[in-house]
């Protein structure tokens, strides 16, 4: 659960906005661990996750003047992380065909079997869920990640993405519906193989 913005954090943000690099460094110390963990959840590769977190922090410094405090600092930072991730994905940021989801899951099962490290059922489900989230269109993926992984409310998501709260609600609804449909399809594929 994301902690609300403290007075100290607000002060650090204000100082950073005035160009205080030391204040920004302290601010990043507070958020780095969570940012890297989230980046790792996106891309699965520790080196890529590290680069992604670094690019996010640098981009945050560059656009700090645009942070108006209408959402928590971490929510804003997380929105930058999403944009950076989308940039690194490039062409692949487009939708991944649904058929590849089960292929990904199967490939992962084979890799685990080969490595003699069978994944727990929960791990497998989590990997599939993340693959499904990645398969969503970017605008749906972003609201899902901000809502569930950054624990932001609808108003905060709206502020972080620069869209209306109504649009956030609609995108969340459609994104959850798409995830449910994907889950159904994956389940059908699994059932047909057994």
């Amino acid at each position: 659960m994301a902690a609300p913005q403290t007075e100290e954090e607000s002060e650090l943000v204000a100082l950073s906005r005035e160009g205080d690099v030391a204040a920004f460094s302290r601010l990043m110390q507070e958020h780095q661990s969570r940012l890297v963990a989230q980046a790792l959840a996106f891309c699965g590769d520790p080196h890529q996750a590290r680069d992604l977190a670094q690019e996010t922090m640098v981009a945050a410094w560059k656009s700090l003047a645009r942070f108006d405090g209408s959402c928590r600092f971490f929510t804003w930072l997380y929105a930058i992380l999403l944009r950076q991730h989308r940039k690194t994905l490039g062409w692949f940021a487009r939708r991944i065909p649904l058929a590849t989801l089960e292929q990904q899951a199967t490939a992962q099962r084979h890799e685990d079997a080969a490595a003699c490290e069978p994944r727990a059922g929960d791990d497998e489900e989590a990997a599939l869920l993340r693959a499904m989230v990645t398969a969503l269109p970017a605008k749906h993926r972003e609201v899902i990640r901000l809502r569930f992984y950054a624990d932001a409310n609808e108003a905060e998501i709206a502020a972080a993405l620069g869209i209306s709260a109504g649009t956030v609600k609609s995108r969340l609804h459609h994104a959850l519906e798409k995830l449910r449909q994907m889950k159904e399809k994956v389940n059908r594929l699994r059932d047909s193989r057994h």
């Binding site: 160009g19 690099v21 920004f24 460094s25 990043m28 110390q29 780095q32 661990s33 969570r34 890297v36 963990a37 989230q38 790792l40 959840a41 996750a49 590290r50 977190a53 670094q54 922090m57 640098v58 410094w61 560059k62 489900e125 989590a126 869920l129 993340r130 989230v133 899902i144 569930f148 992984y149 624990d151 959850l176 519906e177 995830l179 449910r180 889950k183 159904e184 389940n187 059932d191 047909s192 057994h194």
Partner: protein, 143 residues
């Protein structure tokens, strides 16, 4: 064998929401990476310093150049100000015209004509001399 009865939870987006929340809880936090922090802040400090020097590079000379251009424009405007008496132009003194006696009226011309043609010509000559400026003459007396 597959289960023909779908799990009602599978059709409820709330179960997806719950799965997402569970996954988010699993992510947690990575251990703090001091090297990453140092690298990132070094990049930011470099950018910050470069930004400051770029500001100096861009704005201070721009201000100096702007001032110099303004001074040059002012100087040029003074130098090339159009003269009231440009060289080579002949100066016509209109003072005699302004001081000339009032011209004869049409009535006086009619009266002169009634007397004779010579009287009319004399009146016209007199008025013409009063109206027209004196023709400038060169020092040697030629026109």
């Amino acid at each position: 064998m597959s289960n023909p009865t779908p799990n009602p939870e599978e059709h409820d987006p709330a179960s997806i929401s719950e799965a997402l929340r569970r996954d988010a809880r699993r992510i947690g936090e990575a251990p703090f990476d001091m090297a990453l922090q140092r690298e990132t802040m070094a990049r930011i400090r470099e950018m910050s310093e470069a930004g400051r020097s770029r500001f100096g590079f861009r704005f201070v000379p721009a201000l100096a150049i702007g001032s110099a251009v303004a001074v040059a424009v002012l100087l040029l405007s003074f130098l090339f100000k159009p003269s009231r008496h440009p060289e080579g132009a002949s100066v016509v003194d209109l003072a005699p015209l302004r001081q000339a006696a009032p011209r004869a009226s049409v009535w006086s011309y009619e009266m002169a004509l009634a007397r004779s043609d010579a009287d009319l010509s004399a009146a016209l000559d007199r008025d013409a001399q009063a109206l027209l400026p004196v023709t400038p003459k060169l020092p040697d007396g030629s026109l």
